[in-house]
């Protein structure tokens, strides 16, 4: 229930709308009032708020998940990158919450009581992961912020200079803050929200949409006097295009963050000049900032260019360029939970698995020009870890106090030239980039799919011939050939039916260190037509450093296109005269089934195409990964030779 009373300092009416509000700042005389039952105590004047361009104000209303709320209080906080507001919300269901407003990003949180011991502020490090309230969190930001002023109803005492040590935690589903300004610390859990989704009304006039593209400030570079501009309050640093000095845009005296360069390196001229306008994915963007980062590996410097793009409604995007390869990247408000600053083999995000590609322990900013939403300095370093799932790239960038994630999408130079309507073509890409799509990936998949279909068809054709044609036994008869009376013998008669067939005759003998010539004759009983075949069998074996064999005791010969009829075989043996050993011979005659050699050959032939597609695909991947931290070590590298 609301409590209405009067300010003990000026007599103006003071209303406590929320029962949990303990403090209120009189909107007329700025007295900080403490609530004691029905009385108010004046504990001094609250410092004045710093004018900002927030579209929000006390009394503004909105809806969150269908529940109406009103803004009843506000704390303005100063941190390393500027100002942020914490708006105290009172919902119709009597819950209170906080709407954090910083750099055009809005996060709505609710206080949550946890029984777990909260970690000490000093114990926490960027990227550290721990479980709190049965959820895993990653430390994404650590700030030693300071309260500037308060306004309206607040649940705790605030004042100018009041320290607000705060730690931001993130996981893929939620956002949380540990507020160490109270003892014990307060734990707030919520999520990033889209400003439009809050359906706000009662906003400040002329600031209905939180866009930074208003009220640009123009000033001169304190180092060289060249004109500089910051398009909005969100622009905290501006790099001088003329001399390279970096200036604090939020500072009234435009303090220099990085000194002017003695000589600007022409090789770092931006390919997209500042102020270039274009359309990415159908949305207008403008290049407002350009910086060059450099990383050194084994003494070799690798540098890449980054362009800050201002988009619609205060949004920002990045374009990155390395050796002619381009990526468009967006910051992630809900980053992967599985990794902090520790590199992992892979990270799951958005239903995809990203493989670790490379880690740059100290990516240094070496050139700055244009406007930036943080106080960028030349020489500042960050640890950058890249994970890839072409055409996507997931990058984490961390400093001692901040961890941020972004997701990039690979773009061909032609797409950039088209987006910005460039008249001069961009440089051709060199080599294969980390998340460059493999042009052979799709043909590789298509050819393999085709192979499996053709292989299945081949198996079905083979099965048809194996099961439906041939393999029927027509005759089996045993003979014993004696070298002393090696006469011609004749088999029983057998029938061949149907169309002309391939007939196989198999001889299985008991030859042992012996040989035998065998003249076969397949004879049609009624016509007398005959088909001859001369075979020679030999089989030798022995021991000579182990058992050896040579030749075979078996033999098979086929007769093609044998017409239907009644047949018999004659066998005329020719045996070794110096070895008077009888040889048993088991003769089998059968219609020949489908051979397997054609099947094997056609499968090998069909496999040539997917194998070629695979090697072409794999060669591209090898070139990609040769540039990563996981490149195969060559023998030259491994032996450590310097020549």
């Amino acid at each position: 229930m609301a409590l209405s009373t009067n300010c003990p300092s000026c007599g103006a009416p003071v209303v406590f709308k929320s029962a949990s509000s303990v403090f209120s700042v009189c909107e007329y005389c700025q007295s900080t009032l403490v609530r004691h039952d029905q009385n108010l105590e004046d504990i001094g004047k609250m410092a004045a708020l710093v004018e900002d361009r927030s579209p929000l104000q006390l009394g503004a209303e909105g809806r969150y998940k269908g529940v109406h709320f009103a803004l009843i209080g506000r704390i303005q906080i100063k941190y390393s990158q500027g100002l942020w507001n914490e708006w105290h919300l009172l919902f119709d269901d009597m819950r209170t919450g906080w709407l954090s407003e910083a750099a055009g990003e809005y996060v709505l949180t609710f206080a949550e009581f946890v029984e777990d011991r909260l970690p000490n502020f000093d114990e926490l490090k960027i990227g550290q992961r721990f479980v709190l309230a049965s959820r895993t969190w990653t430390v994404s930001n650590i700030e030693n912020a300071e309260c500037i002023a308060g306004q309206g109803e607040l649940p705790f005492k605030v004042g100018a200079g009041y320290p607000v040590p705060a730690v931001d935690l993130r996981n893929q589903a939620a956002f949380a803050t540990l507020d160490y300004s109270e003892t014990p610390p307060l734990f707030f859990v919520g999520e990033a929200v889209d400003f439009k989704s809050l359906d706000m009304n009662g906003l400040r006039d002329g600031m209905a949409i939180p866009t930074p593209s208003v009220q640009a400030q123009v000033f001169r570079c304190p180092a060289c006097g060249s004109p500089m501009a910051a398009r909005s309050a969100e622009i905290l640093a501006v790099g001088c295009v003329a001399c390279g000095a970096v200036v604090d845009a939020a500072d009234q005296n435009h303090q220099i963050l990085s000194k002017a360069l003695g000589l600007r390196d022409e090789k770092y001229t931006p390919r997209l000049p500042l102020g270039s306008k274009g359309r990415l994915e159908g949305k207008p963007v403008e290049v407002i900032g350009f910086l060059v980062r450099q990383s050194r590996v084994d003494g070799i410097a690798y540098d890449w260019r980054e362009y800050l793009l201002a988009g619609e409604n205060g949004s920002y995007r990045w374009l990155t360029e390395y050796d002619g390869h381009w990526n468009v990247a967006d910051g992630l408000s809900r980053p992967p939970t599985s990794s902090g600053i520790v590199e992992l083999d892979s990270v799951s995000f958005g239903g995809q698995s990203f493989k670790h590609f490379s880690t740059s322990p100290a990516a240094e900013v070496i050139q700055v020009a244009g406007e930036f939403t943080w106080r960028v300095r030349r020489g500042e370093t960050s640890r950058v870890i890249d994970y890839v799932a072409p055409p996507l790239m997931l990058s984490s960038e961390s400093t001692d106090s901040d961890l941020s994630w972004s997701q990039g999408f690979y773009l061909a130079p032609e797409a950039i030239a088209e987006a910005f309507k460039l008249s001069v073509p961009l440089p051709e890409p060199v080599g294969v980039f980390a998340n460059q799509p493999n042009p052979w990936a799709e043909p590789h998949r298509r050819v393999w799919r085709l192979f499996w279909k053709l292989a299945l068809a081949t198996i079905l054709v083979q099965a048809f011939f194996v099961f439906l044609s041939g393999g029927k036994l027509l005759l089996r008869q045993d003979f014993v050939f004696d070298p002393r009376a090696a006469d011609e013998v004749q088999t029983r008669e057998f029938e061949i039916t149907g169309k002309p067939r391939k007939i196989a005759v198999k001889n299985t003998t008991s030859l042992d260190n012996n040989w035998m010539g065998l003249d076969l004759l397949l004879v049609n009983k009624s016509s007398g037509a005959a088909w001859p075949a001369a075979r020679e069998l030999s089989f030798y074996s022995g021991y000579d450093d182990g058992r050896w064999t040579e030749g075979s005791q078996d033999d098979e010969v086929v007769f093609l296109n044998i017409p239907a009829g009644t047949y018999y075989l004659t066998l005329d043996p020719d045996m070794a005269p110096n070895k008077p050993v009888a040889v048993r011979d088991s003769v089998e005659v059968h219609t020949a089934g489908a051979g397997w050699s054609n099947f094997v050959l056609v499968m090998v032939f069909l496999a040539v195409f997917p194998l070629f597609a695979y090697f072409r695909y794999a060669a591209f991947e090898a070139r990609r990964w040769a540039e990563s931290d996981h490149a195969p070590v060559s023998s030259d590298d491994a032996d450590g030779s310097d020549d």
Binding site: V461, N524, A529, F599
Partner: protein, 47 residues
């Protein structure tokens, strides 16, 4: 382009394979009368 070529080559190989199986061709057969074909390949046998 390559997948169209592989489709054409694969289908051609499949057709040749089916015909070879139907004809009973086998690279590794020991053919008794390889230089002949049909019923006219035989000679008349007289005991």
């Amino acid at each position: 382009m390559f997948d169209k070529f592989s489709l054409a080559a694969g289908v051609f190989a499949l057709v040749v394979f089916a015909y070879a199986q139907q004809q009973g061709w086998n690279l590794f057969d020991n053919v008794a009368n390889p230089s002949h074909g049909g019923s006219g390949s035989s000679r008349t046998y007289h005991k």
